[in-house]
């Protein structure tokens, strides 16, 4: 796509940085502090780090990594259960590559694979359906992680397996939804945030209209943005601008893929196959109705019903990721930071992702 290159074009990127800094200085003059935004999406966090934008802006705009990295927010107990699942006889476990190295309480899927378990990395959930078709004498289980971008694809995999009457195919659903976690963060007390950079690709499915609650109920703005440097900077600029204008709005700054209504086909597929259920979030705890599971009529494809694996309650820890993502405390104020919780043995999501707030502080502290 010819125009895509423009969103990372160096001169335009540098001009955009200057524009953001100018506006942020103005914010500081008016309010006596720098603006604080949360990028909800883990891929935004990675892009902000990779392009250097987060570092470049750090004296002018504080950007807090939110709870939107699906592997980072998968609870340890849930990962333990997945590993236990791989130990079931006659089983092929399929997963996105992202999950392989995420630590459970004792091990990882990668270590289980090294230990001889049949765990396969696939690019698409539909590939796991094909594996089930080719291996009728094996149980094939897909680890269904993801937010709203990925969830419709999980539903599509179930639809495919169901239409092919594959009795040996099931999904271990541990999906996460954006709205419940943002509501939980915003309702749990004080939040020092001036706005959200809203997840571009989740919004492709949800549409802009889904975020009205942020402005209407919580009086906080949001900008739906893409992942290229110019898009990120434009989103940040517009959020600062809204603050200066004292306006609260949801902006769609990613119009070429995000519509008001979102992807209606995807939404109706979700509705047909899935329903909301409580979900455990790593370091945050259980949030009511914050994930989607298969409806009763598709339980033959529900690995949680098919296999007798006990997950147990999420681990209760002193992890303060919840407050870190609300901008209330710094990682150093958490008692676990650099003690019980390090990148090698992370407790909360902010330490799992290499670009998570705690992990970034840990690396900085060690002079890296």
């Amino acid at each position: 796509m010819a125009n895509m290159d423009l969103f990372s074009e160096p001169t335009l990127t540098r001009d955009s940085v200057e524009a953001v800094i100018d506006l942020a200085k103005r914010f500081k003059e008016e309010k006596g502090r720098i603006p604080v935004f949360m990028e909800v999406c883990g891929s935004h966090t990675m892009a902000l780090a990779k392009t250097g934008i987060k570092t470049r802006l750090k004296d002018y705009v504080q950007l807090i990594a939110g709870p939107g990295c699906p592997v980072c927010v998968t609870d340890q107990k849930s990962i333990d259960a997945m590993i236990q699942l791989s130990e079931e006889p006659n089983t092929i476990l399929c997963t996105f590559g992202d999950m392989m190295r995420v630590p459970g309480s004792k091990s990882t899927l990668m270590k289980a694979k090294t230990g001889g378990k049949d765990i396969r990395v696939v690019y698409s959930p539909l590939d796991s359906v094909k594996i089930a078709e080719k291996n009728p004498d094996k149980e094939v289980i897909f680890l269904g992680i993801g937010f709203e971008t990925t969830i419709p694809i999980l539903a599509l995999a179930v639809r495919e397996a169901s239409s092919k009457e594959l009795k040996n195919y099931s999904i271990w659903m541990t999906t996460k939804l954006v709205e419940p976690v943002l509501r939980a963060l915003l309702s749990s007390g004080e939040v020092k945030l001036d706005g959200f950079l809203l997840p571009g690709h989740v919004s492709v499915v949800l549409g802009k209209q889904n975020y009205r609650y942020l402005a209407e109920e919580f009086n906080i703005s949001g900008a739906i943005t893409g992942f290229e440097p110019v898009q990120l900077l434009s989103g940040i600029y517009k959020l600062i601008h809204l603050q200066l204008e004292k306006k609260v709005e949801i902006i769609n700054d990613y119009t070429y893929v995000v519509s008001d209504k979102g992807n209606v086909v995807a939404q109706s597929l979700i509705e047909e196959y899935l329903e909301a259920d409580d979900e455990a979030w790593r370091g945050i705890g259980t949030i009511p109705k914050s994930g989607l599971v298969l409806k009763e009529e598709y339980s033959q494809h529900d690995a949680k019903k098919k296999f007798n694996i006990s997950i147990g309650e999420p681990r209760v820890t002193k992890c303060r990721c919840g407050e870190i993502v609300r901008g209330l405390i710094t990682p150093e104020e958490c008692v676990l930071f650099n003690k019980g919780c390090t990148p090698a043995h992370p407790i909360g999501p902010c330490m799992v992702s290499t670009e998570g707030t705690c992990s970034a502080h840990y690396q900085f502290m060690r002079g890296e």
Binding site: T150, H201, V257, N263
Partner: protein, 83 residues
């Protein structure tokens, strides 16, 4: 939270399409984009096209941003950013 990459549609066969990203190709599902046509760009995630890219909007959005940077709308742009 989710990687997505724009890919150009080369061929369509039922509910799948051959797409191209800078010369590398892949067959992807088109269940979520029933309106897709050859030569469209789609946003690819985990083997599925999740939406058709509106190239016109991409162009507009870069132009709008250039105008902001050039100060054509004054120090801030005029109206509601929302439109």
């Amino acid at each position: 939270m989710c990687l997505g990459v724009p890919a150009k549609v080369i061929e369509i066969e039922g509910q799948r399409a051959l797409v191209d990203v800078m010369g590398s190709r892949m067959y992807v599902g088109t269940f979520f984009v029933p309106e897709v046509k050859i030569d469209d760009y789609v946003l690819l995630h985990a083997g599925q096209a999740m939406t058709v890219v509106n190239e016109e909007y991409a162009k507009e959005s870069i132009e709008e941003w250039r105008n902001v940077l050039d100060g054509k709308h004054g120090p801030f742009f005029r109206t509601d950013l929302n439109s």
